[in-house]
Structure formats: C-alpha cells, structure tokens
C-alpha cells in the first residue's frame, strides 16, 4: 500500500480565544479526490489555507509527500520551517481561491506565465507555449491577451485554475471555487474540474457546497463540523446513508435549500 501524500497529525489552530481545529488528523492518498463538506465555520477553508501555508498552526505536524511542511530537520532536531523550506514545500501544492485572485495588471497569459518564469526559471517562449496549452484545456485560448477585468467570473476562475496548474503541483486545493459565480456560470467551471479529475492523477482537495458535484467528483467525502471530522466515507454512503445525526441534519438542510444530491 502506498503511503499518504498528505498526512495531518493532531493539528491545532486557534484564532485568539477561538479554537478552530482541535487535534485534527487525516490522511490523503496520492491521486485521491477528496471533498470537504460541512456547515459554515466548521474549518474547511482553514484546512486548505494551512496546507497552502497561508495560516500558521499552533500545534501538530503535517507531512506532505514524505516531508514535514511546517518543520524541518536541523542539527538533528525538528525545528520550525524557515521561508526557504516553505518555498520548497509550496512547489508541491497549488490553490484556487473563491474570488479567483487574478493579477489585474496582467493579461490572462501573463497571469499564467509569471510564476513559472520567476520561480522555475522557465524561458518565456516555453512558458507561453505551456500557458496556451492550459488555456486551451480550460477553453480560454481565445482570451489569452484579455485583461482579467474583461472576463466573466466563470472565465476568471478557469484562468485561475490554469494558472495554478502551470506550476504542475502534485496537490491542488479548491476552496469553493464556484460560490462567487452567477448560477449560469457554475457549470463551465465544474466541467473543467471534471476534466481535470478524469485526465490527471493529481491529488485534489475540494471544499464545496455543491453536493451533487462533490458526489460525482470525489473518491471520498469528509464531513466536518466544529473543526472535527464527524463522518467520512464513499460519496454514495455519505449521501445515501449518513450514519451520524449531524451529517443527516446538514444534508437535509442543504437539500431543503435547493442543492441537488
């Protein structure tokens, strides 16, 4: 059996007096597609942000691809990671944000080529060729020279996905990537993600309120509540036969709110 690509061990995350994650542990296997669902404020975003090194943890350990994320070996002991170590670890991880976070002063193509050229030293011509491939994959090749302000939300998000893919991370994190979109634009983004899931062996972690999509996309569903994993399992088991009371209540609520399962 292969070893997990992500291993989260007993992490603690607090904001002032508020403990958001209290001794959370979980593992993700290479290539696994994982959906994190749960009520608002349950800590789903926080987990992704911690994996992307956008938040510090207050305790515990995280191992990515066999290496400590927030710690490093030094003088025989484990010490807090420095910026260099974090930069090395970030090469393995990419993230797509709810609000796209494109660079507004750069055209679509340059949004994508910037990081590969600067962080991997890839020549402009090669980076642009790769950017065009990725834009083609997300159906945005004809907008390569447009500025982000000229795009719809769905188009922006597809560009943001291409931008994250350009660094070829082993792990991709998606935080509610469709929830800022008008309903009619959701599907074009979900289609891109379906294609990604089918065509790549990247490990993908997805936070979503689209239960139908989570069901089709994920190999495994984690249901979170109050910073803990309440229930996990295969999509069919979670959605058809949730065992935990809290999972049942949550799913009843989202279905009542009009999300299809």
């Amino acid at each position: 059996m292969p070893s997990p690509i992500i291993h989260i061990d007993n992490i603690i995350k607090t904001y002032g007096p508020l403990t958001v994650l209290d001794g959370l542990s979980m593992s993700v296997m290479p290539g696994e597609k994982l959906a994190l669902i749960g009520p608002s404020g349950s800590g789903k975003t926080t987990i992704l942000r911690i994996l992307m090194t956008l938040e510090k943890i207050n305790g515990g350990h995280i191992e990515i691809d066999g290496e400590q994320l927030y710690h490093m070996q030094k003088a025989g002991g484990l010490v807090a990671a420095d910026e260099r170590h974090l930069q090395k670890m970030r090469e393995k991880i990419g993230m797509v944000f709810q609000h796209f976070n494109l660079f507004p002063h750069k055209c679509v193509r340059d949004n994508i080529t910037l990081a590969p050229m600067l962080t991997k030293g890839i020549a402009r011509a090669a980076a642009e060729a790769r950017a065009m491939e990725l834009l083609d994959m997300v159906g945005m090749a004809d907008k390569a020279k447009s500025m982000p302000a000229q795009l719809s939300g769905g188009q922006k998000q597809r560009v943001a996905i291409a931008r994250a893919l350009a660094l070829s991370p082993k792990i991709m994190l998606f935080d509610e990537v469709t929830s800022a979109l008008d309903p009619e634009l959701v599907e074009e983004v979900l289609n891109v993600m379906r294609k990604l899931a089918a065509e790549t062996d990247m490990t993908m972690l997805l936070v979503t309120h689209e239960m139908g999509f989570a069901h089709d996309f994920a190999d495994r569903i984690l249901f979170f509540d109050k910073g803990r994993i309440v229930e996990e399992g295969k999509p069919d088991d979670i959605f058809r036969n949730p065992r935990q009371e809290r999972t049942q209540t949550f799913l009843r609520k989202v279905i009542a709110a009009g999300h299809r399962v």
Partner: protein, 219 residues
C-alpha cells in the same frame, strides 16, 4: 529706459537652476520615498525604525532649517556641499519623507488576496513586491507624487537663502537693480505656474498610461 532683455535673460538663467533643483530633488525624493516607504513595511524591526525616524524627523522640522544644516552645519562635520548640492539634498530628503508615507499607503492598499495568490504561486518576497504589488500600487501613488513634485518646485525658492541663484533669487536681483517689482515678479509667477502645469500634465499622462495597463484593452 531699462533694457529688459538682459534682465529677462538673468531670470531665465535662474529658471534653469530652479528646473535643475526640481528635477534632481524629485529624483532624490523618489528614491527616498521608496526606500523609507518600503522600509516601514520591512519585516526587520531595525529597518522599520530607521525609516520611521527619517520620516518623522524630516516631516517634523522645517525645510528652511534642514537647508541651513545641509549648507552651514555639515561643513563642521567635514562635509562641504555646493549650494546646489545642499539644496537638492534638503529638498529631496524633505519631500521624500512625505512620499514615503504615500508609498507605504499605496502598498498597503493592495488587498491581502493578491499576497495570498503570490504565496500560492510560490513567488518569493522580492518577486511578489516587484511584479505584483508595486505595479498595482504605483498608479495609486502617482496623483500624490504629482502634488509632492509641485510642492518641491515651490519649495525650491528657499535655496535663494543660501545664495543659490535660482529664479526667485534672480528676481530679487533684478528688482534691486531696476527698482521694478512688478515685472520680475510677474515673470517668475508665470514661469512657476508654467512649470507646475508641466508637472501636472506629465503626471496625468503617466496616470493614463498606468490605468490603461490595468483595465484597458492592451493587445
């Protein structure tokens, strides 16, 4: 009858000195503004403190006193400056301190999500600043930089106090020699105004260019 052409020539020579002071002072101010403005955002406490001391000191004392220090006191420390050098130094450091706050404010106005996108794309601190934050912050700085440059232009007149022959100095010479106040001072009024207008137009042009880069139709 007074021969005005000779006197006007004198004032134009002074105008050249004023332009020189403005250009060189603005260049120094720009450098100081970025050095101190980014210094105040440094993660090193020592650099933040140095930047803060510089900014507070030069904003808290008058340009007049600073100029006299640069010209009359520094020689005691073994540093002798020409009047032009002293003028550029005092003006540049003084206006740079105001500019530093502009730089800091503009950089801080760029949202957290831009920084986070940079982290997610693994851009280091330098690349983040150079390629993502500053290009977006620069258009926000330009209008105030334009104001600062005009303030600097108007401030150049103080250098006449250390006998630098700028436009104001020459106007006083002409006044002393001809007895006419109206003509030399009307002339420099027009010239100062023309220079300030040129600065405004230049900055507006830069703003338009910067805006086009941001949301326009670049092909």
């Amino acid at each position: 009858m007074i021969d005005w052409s000779g006197y006007l020539g004198l004032i134009l020579q002074g105008a050249l000195v004023t332009v020189e002071l403005t250009v060189m002072g603005s260049a120094l101010a720009l450098v100081m503004a970025f050095a101190a403005g980014l210094g105040r955002l440094s993660r090193f406490a020592v650099i933040r403190m140095l930047a803060t001391v510089y900014i507070e000191f030069f904003r808290g004392t008058s340009i007049f006193v600073q100029l006299f220090w640069a010209y009359f006191v520094l020689p005691f420390a073994g540093i002798t400056l020409t009047p032009l050098q002293a003028g550029v130094l005092a003006l540049g450091l003084n206006v740079g301190a105001y500019g530093a706050e502009v730089v800091r404010g503009a950089v801080r106005a760029i949202g957290r999500e831009q920084h986070e996108a940079c982290v997610a794309l693994n851009l280091g601190r330098y690349h983040r600043m150079r390629h993502v934050i500053l290009p977006q912050a620069l258009p926000l700085m330009l209008p105030t930089f334009g104001n600062n440059a005009i303030e600097l232009l108007k401030g150049t007149a103080v250098v006449s106090l250390i006998s630098l022959t700028d436009m104001t100095f020459q106007a006083q010479v002409v006044r002393a020699q001809t007895g006419s106040t109206l003509i030399p001072f009307a002339t420099i009024l027009v010239l100062y105004f023309a220079m300030a207008t040129a600065i405004s137009a230049g900055v507006r042009w830069l703003e338009r260019r910067a805006a086009r880069g941001l949301d326009g139709v670049r092909v």
